[in-house]
């Protein structure tokens, strides 16, 4: 209470006790408008969020189920797998095993926020704070999204994709289109570019780079270094292979891209379908990289906004308790031996870390000062958070910001499970010696680059039977799931048109191999 008073004196006009925005659970469009205004004022003045314009769409639970099926997007091409997700969600929902999300938010400009009509007034307030401000700010500012997605054009692209797929179905038959899409979907996780391509340089930066190079050369040139062995003889031997790989752009980790550009037997429309799947995979790629941050950002934002509304008397105690009930169940992290445990809850971890960043910025302990010299006690908590939201993804964020305090609070511990060992070893726990190891390990756990096996198109046997050769660079001896790999290779072979071979390679030695042959090659 005292703290609330203090804020009152600090920001005089904003925090006078006000009339509650609503009292019951009913809401109407006028109320949504007022709530949005009240939240927006705090988001703007205190958190300084920078958001896309919002488009709030009120939907029914039926429509929410529909939205679930097509990964939340308002329009999507038709495919049986979406029907499969739909029937599963529908079953779970109808049987009461699973509730529906309160909202879905789409990374587009304007940012589309679906809210359910069943929500109470409190929940609508929460949902607006969470999605229309939290997620929205993250979408607009995080570098992953900036780099890989174009929020203004995604809906147009989806409309194009939908029409294109429908047109192909009319022309070439539903079954043929489905086959291509099945195959492309199987390779979807390996249809993204992980690194941006080279952009054409403009004159100015070209000039700058030239100057840098010259400056470097002047400083570092030494004739003695000319003892480097000449590579000419080697090049001669490998020349043919090298040239072939270079012409095909190999090695290439974006398998769908490689197929789209190089598969010899595909028709243009089939390449375009592959491209559509690839583009959509690329659009969703940042979301996979930023689960903890995205949800953490939205959860932190809604928690702060709701608390401020309550402090200002704009929501009643009852509404605030309703909110807290919902909030705590969202950020609940079951422990590893709890039957409810199903992995680390990104909401819980993200929220805990962001609250902790705020604490470190405002009231650091000596430990925090040692771990985070950059910002401990700097006083501008929101500034630090905004910077984190903009410039990190889960893996780097955890590595940079996971504090000992959070590790202790969540009692995180690290296991090493080596198949060759009889037992599992507890490698580190939440203590002085373990913090950094736990942090590194958890960060890797959230690294999409490690979650997806590293598979690359390595070579094509152009002189022989045109076999496509892929390499899986095995890390820590973890090989692929053989059954699924065989199925995916079968799809891949159908797209490629000839046999394919996948070698699992660790430290230069092949430890497993999978083969695929086309059964119904596309042509």
């Amino acid at each position: 209470m005292a703290r609330a008073r203090k804020t009152t004196s600090a920001a005089p006009p904003a925090a006078m006790p006000r009339e509650p925005l609503f009292t019951g659970r009913d809401w109407d469009f006028d109320l949504l408008d007022r709530v949005y205004g009240a939240i927006g004022a705090i988001a703007d003045s205190e958190l300084k969020l920078d958001i896309y314009p919002n488009q709030i769409e009120v939907i029914t639970s039926e429509q929410m189920l529909d939205a679930y099926a097509s990964t939340g997007m308002p329009l999507f091409y038709k495919h049986w797998s979406f029907g499969k997700h739909f029937v599963r969600n529908e079953t779970l929902y109808r049987k009461g095993w699973q509730g529906l999300a309160y909202e879905i938010v789409i990374n587009s400009s304007p940012c589309i926020v679906y809210i359910m009509e069943e929500n109470s007034a409190t929940m609508q307030t929460l949902v607006l704070a969470h999605a229309a401000f939290g997620h929205n700010h993250f979408f607009k500012n995080n570098y992953c999204f900036k780099q890989w997605t174009d929020a203004t054009s995604i809906l147009d692209y989806l409309a194009f994709a939908k029409n294109y797929v429908a047109a192909c179905e009319d022309r070439y038959g539903q079954e043929n289109v489905e086959q291509i899409l099945d195959a492309a979907h199987a390779l979807m996780s390996h249809g993204v570019h992980r690194y941006p391509g080279k952009h054409a340089l403009d004159l100015k930066s070209e000039q700058r780079r030239l100057e840098e190079r010259q400056a470097f050369a002047e400083q570092h040139f030494s004739d003695l270094w000319r003892t480097l062995p000449k590579t000419a003889s080697r090049r001669k031997r490998d020349g043919e292979d090298e040239r072939r790989r270079q012409m095909l752009g190999l090695p290439e980790e974006n398998i769908l891209y490689f197929l789209e550009k190089n598969a010899p037997r595909l028709a243009p429309w089939q390449r375009e379908l592959i491209r559509i799947v690839r583009q959509i995979a690329q659009y969703f790629y940042p979301q996979r990289q930023t689960k903890v941050m995205n949800e953490g950002c939205a959860t932190f934002t809604h928690y702060r906004l709701m608390t401020r509304l309550h402090e200002a008397g704009q929501i009643t105690d009852g509404a605030y308790l309703e909110f807290l009930h919902s909030h705590t169940s969202v950020v609940f992290q079951p422990e590893y031996d709890d039957p409810r445990y199903s992995g680390i809850n990104p909401y819980a971890l993200g929220f805990a870390m962001m609250e902790d960043i705020e604490r470190i910025a405002l009231a650091p302990t000596p430990e925090d000062r040692a771990f985070f010299p950059d910002f401990a006690g700097c006083g501008d908590a929101y500034g630090v958070l905004r910077d984190a939201w903009a410039n990190y993804r889960d893996e780097s964020f955890l590595l940079q910001f996971l504090s000992p305090a959070v590790i202790r609070k969540q009692k995180l511990f690290r296991l090493i499970d080596d198949a060759e060992d009889e037992e599992i070893v507890v490698a580190s726990i939440h203590d002085e010696r373990g913090y950094k190891a736990v942090r590194r390990s958890l960060s890797r756990q959230f690294d999409v680059g490690r979650q997806d096996p590293d598979i690359q198109v390595a070579d094509v046997d152009l002189a022989g039977d045109r076999k496509l050769i892929l390499h899986h660079n095995v890390v820590d001896g973890v090989t692929l799931d053989g059954k699924d790999a065989a199925k995916v290779l079968h799809h891949l072979a159908n797209l490629w048109g000839y046999d394919v071979k996948l070698l699992e390679i660790e430290d230069g030695a092949t430890i497993a191999a999978h083969d695929g042959s086309p059964s119904r090659a596309f042509r």
Partner: protein
């Protein structure tokens, strides 16, 4: 910010995807439906509901790490007693507590989902066919359907098809070289100019003759000729209304126990279900009989007991009477199903058969006789094989390939559906099949 109310938007956006999924999983779902229907009560059969199919065939594969082998390193929350260096017995199955589950939370063994009532029934009754569906009765009033059926050369002015008429007129005019008014005008203007200029080259005379010729042509060849006229042809076809009356005949004398009635009821339910899928309107008539027959409501039909002898012909007479009164055979499709334990007054058999042959079968689309047994197999499998009942034998003599009649024996609940399928299986002519 603006708010859009989408609640009124048409729903069912996922319907197309759902149908695609169903089509893909059709064979599996069909199997699952058959199995599910065996376990279900008849009353619930048409309710749709959850079925489970093996996940394997609708599985979406992807490259992902296998479950075992290699060295894994992961972080878990909620440490209670471990310190660094502790060694833990590996949990028995798979990766135990540390595993993250399958990527999309999908179970490996089965995929469970809910079918709608229609989907369920479609699969349940797939490949079944009502025999003699052809007899559909035409009802007199207000069931005519008007639909366009091309064009004709006569008709009322209201039905004149201007487009067609003009098209024909144009082609006729082109074919007969009717002069274009614009061309005529042009020639007249030229003539006027020449006359004003006092031309002397003889061109005037040529022009005059040409104009004269063309004008005559325009008079002779009319713009619209009666042969051009085309009228829309509307055909009125009577709309066939398919409706059926289903007669349930059952022996309720004391020899029929609850088990038998239950079997009969299941069969009737299936038949009803099937008829409702094929006919828009289905009426049911329940006739129970002992030594005399009576039309009753459903509740009484299945649940009340009567004592008395068994005279099947009484039920047949009652049915014939009701058909005559309420369901004239030329306006209704008549289906009848008779359930009995096969006991009949022996002197009545001949009469029943005669009634069937002469009255009932000629007016029915289909007549199914179901002989329900007690369900105890011991007696049948014993040394003394049970003799066929007299009624069975009497009916058996009646059955001919071209008569719309079938008879089956059912002893156990689980036989009902197979027997039903057998009776209504779609039969392709062998000649057609080849």
């Amino acid at each position: 910010m603006h708010i859009i109310d989408r609640r009124r938007d048409p729903g069912g956006k996922s319907l197309a995807n759902r149908q695609r999924f169903m089509r893909r999983a059709r064979a599996l779902v069909k199997q699952a439906v058959r199995e599910a229907s065996g376990a279900r009560k008849i009353r619930e059969i048409d309710g749709g509901g959850a079925v489970t199919i093996p996940a394997d065939d609708v599985h979406e594969p992807s490259f992902h790490a296998g479950r075992d082998g290699g060295m894994r390193d992961y972080v878990l929350p909620g440490n209670k007693k471990f310190v660094a260096g502790d060694r833990i017995q590996r949990p028995k199955q798979g990766q135990g507590s540390g595993s993250e589950g399958s990527p999309d939370g999908e179970g490996e063994d089965g995929f469970r989902f809910v079918l709608s009532r229609d989907e369920f029934l479609d699969l349940f009754l797939e490949d079944l066919e009502l025999p003699n569906l052809a007899k559909r009765q035409v009802l007199g009033d207000a069931v005519e359907k008007r639909h366009p059926a091309g064009f004709r050369t006569s008709g009322s002015p209201a039905s004149l098809s201007v487009g067609r008429t003009m098209r024909r007129s144009l082609s006729r005019r082109i074919a007969l070289k009717r002069p274009n008014p614009a061309e005529l005008d042009k020639m007249r203007r030229e003539l006027g100019d020449l006359e004003r200029d006092g031309d002397t080259s003889g061109r005037i005379a040529v022009l005059k003759a040409e104009i004269e010729r063309q004008e005559r042509r325009a008079r002779v060849i009319p713009f619209i000729d009666p042969v051009d006229l085309r009228y829309r042809r509307i055909e009125v076809t009577p709309e066939p209304i398919a409706r059926a009356a289903m007669f349930c005949l059952m022996d309720v004398s004391a020899s029929m126990d609850e088990h038998m009635k239950d079997l009969a009821k299941r069969f009737f339910s299936l038949l009803y279900l099937f008829l409702t899928r094929r006919y828009r309107q289905v009426e049911i008539v329940f006739i129970r009989h002992t030594h005399e027959a009576k039309e009753v409501d459903e509740e009484t039909f299945f649940h009340s007991r009567e004592s008395g002898g068994t005279v099947i012909s009484s039920a047949l007479i009652e049915m014939a009477k009701i058909v005559k009164q309420r369901f004239p055979a030329d306006q209704w499709n008549i289906y009848a199903a008779q359930a009995s334990d096969g006991d009949n007054l022996s002197s009545d058999n001949a009469r029943s058969v005669a009634l069937l042959r002469e009255t009932i079968l000629p007016m029915s689309q289909y007549y199914a006789y179901l002989q329900v047994g007690r369900g105890d197999f011991d007696r049948e499998d014993g040394v003394f094989a049970r003799q066929e009942t007299t009624l069975w034998r009497a009916y058996q003599e009646l059955v001919r390939p071209n008569l719309p009649m079938a008879m089956r024996k059912v002893n156990d609940r689980r036989d009902i559906y197979p027997v039903f399928r057998e009776l209504f299986e779609r039969r392709d002519e062998p000649a057609e099949a080849r």
